[in-house]
């Protein structure tokens, strides 16, 4: 009854092609943005920003980037952590080596460097497909792990191998309090989500999807495989690189290559698959799920007053995590985003049977 599109007629092409054609969706989206930009910064406690919201935003940005590659273009990548690392270290070097470099510029240029590396490691995708490609992208992962550990130029010859940034500011506003960090991330995420949403419904996004569904057939109808695949790699690794730079600069502050190791790549892939392949909202739902699950699992023993040793707790956590992932894959192989679209179909009629 509440969620009905009856009577919302589109009388112009503009109206037909807008981002959210249903009025209720527009209202909900605006309400969500208002909560995120205004209500949360005013009300939420500091812990919520530091432990949940900031990591959630940055990792959903990375998941969004990965989703473009895996979900829309069908190229499996296990090297996401590597592209995040490239973004973070490139942004760090720009920030340190060029005096007076604005933060936003170094974050975006960091993403640009990640684009270069992403395209480089995307070239094999023109020859290799499927699982072979997945393993081949591991090369990117291990190579960057090694490069940032061993080549001291990247870390500005830091003796401990870890790098740190401080005194960040955007247009003169210091980025120090959790709220300001949160707003910076939120701004980035909103802009990139809008961009991604528009890219995937434009011609380039349709080319990616054609590549994903059947590459030979796509080539036959005139889509250039090289162009489609490499742009997917480029856009994806740009977003992932910016997310990596944000992760290093805003969330961690000081980091070493281990922050972007293979576990991070797996984690992001989990987000994308649990959230929903080929869905922008899926990236966010997946990121929320993967971030909240360990926190929740940590809390459960406390509710029942069962003190567990840290080692045992972490083993149990990894067991439950694994089991839940298998469970979700069995129950909803198309991801949590699919659950939402099923719910929407139901909502159209609710509470009437027809």
């Amino acid at each position: 009854m509440l969620y009905r599109e009856n009577g919302q007629f589109k009388t112009s092409y503009r109206a037909d092609q807008q981002l959210f054609p249903v009025l209720q969706d527009r209202v909900a989206m605006l309400a969500l943005l208002a909560v995120a930009f205004v209500v949360l910064p005013l009300t939420a406690p500091e812990y919520l920003f530091r432990a949940i919201l900031i990591p959630f935003l940055i990792l959903s940005l990375a998941a969004l980037g990965l989703n473009i590659l895996v979900g829309y273009c069908g190229q499996i990548s296990l090297g996401t952590g590597a592209f995040m690392a490239v973004g973070a270290y490139a942004a760090y070097n720009l920030q340190v080596r060029i005096p007076g470099m604005p933060l936003i510029a170094s974050l975006l240029l960091g993403g640009l460097c990640a684009t270069g590396v992403g395209v480089l490691f995307g070239i094999p995708s023109l020859r290799i497909k499927g699982l072979y490609l997945a393993v081949a992208t591991l090369a990117a992962q291990f190579f960057t792990d090694w490069a940032f550990l061993r080549i001291s130029w990247f870390t500005n010859n830091s003796s401990s191998g870890s790098v740190s940034v401080s005194g960040l500011d955007v247009f003169g506003l210091p980025i120090e309090s959790p709220v300001s960090k949160y707003l910076l991330c939120l701004a980035f995420v909103s802009v990139f989500a809008l961009l991604a949403k528009n890219l995937v419904r434009a011609s380039i996004g349709r080319e990616w999807m054609a590549m994903r569904d059947m590459d030979v057939a796509a080539a036959v109808i005139g889509i250039r495989p090289m162009y489609a695949k490499l742009t997917a790699f480029a856009v994806s690794s740009f977003i992932v690189g910016v997310a990596g730079a944000l992760w290093g600069f805003v969330h961690l502050g000081a980091w070493e290559p281990a922050a972007f190791n293979i576990d991070r790549s797996f984690q992001l892939l989990f987000m994308v698959i649990i959230g929903g392949l080929g869905s922008i909202s899926g990236s966010f739902i997946g990121a929320a799920f993967i971030i909240l699950l360990p926190l929740l699992l940590n809390q459960v023993p406390r509710w029942f007053d069962m003190p567990l040793s840290t080692a045992l707790a972490s083993h149990l956590e990894s067991m439950i995590f694994g089991a839940l992932i298998v469970f979700f894959l069995i129950v909803e192989p198309h991801g949590l985003a699919r659950l939402w679209s099923t719910a929407r179909e139901k909502l159209r009629l609710w509470p009437f049977p027809h």
């Binding site: 072979y132 393993v135 090369a139 083993h315 149990l316 067991m319 992932i325």
Partner: protein, 309 residues
């Protein structure tokens, strides 16, 4: 020259062990099209079970014999791996039939997390040692030919022999037994195999059990070299470039790929490493596999991929 040969032997032995883990991947991929990321976790789980049970049995039943303890431990661990295989098939794979390759891959990652957690919850997370009486002293050969001779670790030699025997046994099993023939049929074409009455679910349990026992052997050998600990589960990642280098569906490919990666890794570390700052072992295998795939996308012995519109 002696040093070169020593490195070469070292690489071959390490390669044999990679091949052993890669074998598990190939077995499962061939029979069910699942890229089993849990192979590393299975190696860890099996090795932990073996290490702990062979330590526990003498305490429980008050006997001294090392051999008996190891035998009992091996049998228990093998039984446990069969149980794992059965559970994986029952609870997970049979419910994911006809899903995309990537969904199955993620499911095996979930299994990997589960097994890692379960193994360490049940058996503890210290470093355990497996003592199956492998000779520790190195062997000095070819003293007449080279100055100082060539040093070979007997342990490696035994490990390589075990691996070779295992491969031969598997080849016999696949070629000569009825079950092996059924396995090959399933690998060839699921639907055709099913239509002539081969029970897919039973075949999958068998394949996962065989892969589990291969994991157990690999775990024992690695474990007695390095001690059983969590990092064992990461060694298995090294087997990935081996598999794609050899071709995902080929057993000889896994062996040859393992040897190439093992030797390449050791030689590159010694001769290229100093130029690049050392530690290149962690990525060399992957980059080698990547470059190789650019020339031959299906790997050394993989099936040729034919595209049809």
């Amino acid at each position: 020259m002696g040093f070169f040969l020593e490195t070469l032997f070292g690489g071959l032995m390490a390669g044999m062990l990679y091949a052993l883990i890669a074998l598990g991947f190939v077995l499962i991929y061939k029979a069910s099209g699942v890229f089993n990321f849990a192979q590393g976790a299975m190696v860890l789980f099996a090795a932990l079970a073996m290490a702990r049970f062979s330590g526990w049995y003498p305490l429980w039943f008050h006997f001294e014999s090392r051999l008996l303890a190891n035998l009992l431990g091996f049998v228990t661990a093998a039984a446990l791996m069969v149980a794992v295989a059965w559970l994986v098939e029952r609870l997970c794979l049979s419910r994911l039939v006809n899903q995309d390759g990537i969904t199955l891959l993620m499911a095996t990652l979930g299994i990997a997390y589960f097994l890692d957690g379960l193994g360490q919850t049940l058996f503890g997370n210290d470093i355990y040692k497996i003592d199956v009486g492998m000779p520790k002293e190195p062997l000095l050969v070819l003293q007449g030919t080279f100055d100082g001779g060539v040093l070979i670790s007997q342990e490696d030699l035994v490990a390589a022999l075990v691996a070779a025997t295992l491969v031969a046994l598997l080849a016999l099993f696949f070629q000569k037994t009825a079950t092996g023939r059924a396995l090959r049929a399933v690998a060839d074409d699921h639907q055709a195999a099913q239509s002539i009455g081969i029970p897919l679910d039973r075949i999958w349990v068998i394949v996962w059990s065989v892969a589990g026992i291969v994991a157990l052997v690999a775990g024992i050998i690695w474990g007695s070299k390095l001690g059983v600990q969590f990092s064992l589960s990461l060694v298995a990642l090294k087997a990935l470039p081996v598999v794609i280098l050899g071709g995902l569906t080929s057993i000889p490919g896994a062996i040859l790929g393992g040897l190439i990666i093992g030797v390449g890794e050791k030689l590159s570390e010694i001769y290229l490493g100093p130029m690049l700052g050392g530690g290149i072992e962690i990525w060399f295998a992957y980059v080698l596999a990547l470059v190789f795939l650019l020339v031959r996308p299906q790997g050394l012995f993989g099936e040729k991929i034919i595209d049809r519109v």
